[in-house]
Amino acid sequence: MDQITFIFDVMLPAFSNGLLMTLSLIAISAPIGFILGVTIACGRVYGGKGLSWVMKLYTIFFRGCPLLLLLFILYFGLPSVGIVFTPFVASVLGFILCNSAYNSEYVRGSIISVKEGQLIAAKALGMTKNQAIINIVLPQALRRSIPGISNEFIYLIKYSSLAYMITLVELTGASKLIATKYFAYNETFFAVALVYLALVTVTTFGANALEKKYAVPG
């Protein structure tokens, strides 16, 4: 088989299926991980003692547990207590738990950095605490979280390859399969690395554009 046939008849179809799987993993995990991260951050900063502690434990646990181990527990461990997930669901769950724990810390840091006076002024105008948080504090905090959250998004693109370890054939898995089948390790892995690089580059530009769009003077 010559190189051209290998690239177009073997690599391309395998990669596009794998890429589709990787993108589906990200498309579901990232938004939920983001929303959950913001919720956890708010719970930690504004929640009562109890809620704040629960959120803190969540962060400690899911930041402290290696993601691969978390995936193993979700996919291989939980069936023994009667909870069975498909590889896809287990992966998405693992990514969400990990992603949200990290995001919550970025957002919490930004919330704390918003000056106290902003909340005081909002309250003085008659806003409830929730109105003040949603309309005044979070818009400022989230702007400051863009670099952190996009950083975490880039991690997610790459650690989505761990899904392969629980039998889900995503981009890395697909490349591994054809690499071993055709003994074409270098070409395949180098090509797949370029695909990841492209994804990360697009994300970087997207994050920069977002930052610019919502930039505020001062």
Partner: protein, 250 residues
Amino acid sequence: MTEEKYILRIENIKKSFGTNEVLTGVSINVKKGETICFIGPSGTGKSTLLRCINQLTIPDSGKIFLNDEEVTHAGPRINYFRQKIGMVFQNFFLFDHLTAVRNVEIALLKVKKMNPKEAREKAMYELKQVGMANWADHYPAELSGGQAQRVSIARALAMDPEIMLFDEPTSALDPELTREVLEVMKKLVIDGMTMLVVTHEMGFACSVANKICFMEHGQIKEQGSPTELLNNPEFERCKAFIGEFREYSQ
């Protein structure tokens, strides 16, 4: 009940932070349209008193009434009272991520639930009143201190408050910017707004206040009209405080 009708009644307000007694029993009644200035050395509870009025600081004891309705212990209804009590802060506290006009309209939209067109018109009207209409699309970071403070006054006025609290509104400003803010405040006095002003601007206090309260050690030590207080204060500390001011201004 008192015979006279008061818009705001403050009854024996006490507040401590830890072992530090900041307010040791402050009572004062305010009539509609009155301007009352609070003067006195720093750390005597003037700002805390203002913050107690709209419950940004919850007093340990004492009661506050707005139009005979109790503001203290109001629960969630405090947000209704806070709309009636406008507040202006020393450091403006404009919302950093919003332009001047958005700063003024946000509470109209979110608290008063006005429709966007009405809210924008109202916000522009208030900005015009403080001479900031041309700066409507600028962010707080692009405004001078005096401009920012005028926007913050417009923001408070947009809620159609019944009284306005000013917490050292010019202390962060240089003399020129101070003047432009005081001009706006004088206009409010003339328009009949009820105002409580914590200030170190003796000139302003003397020219517009109906009553000046000298505070020290968490209490109102002496109160009276500007002429009474300036010309024959019986209280030694107050005499000294104002005396220093007169020395420098002569």
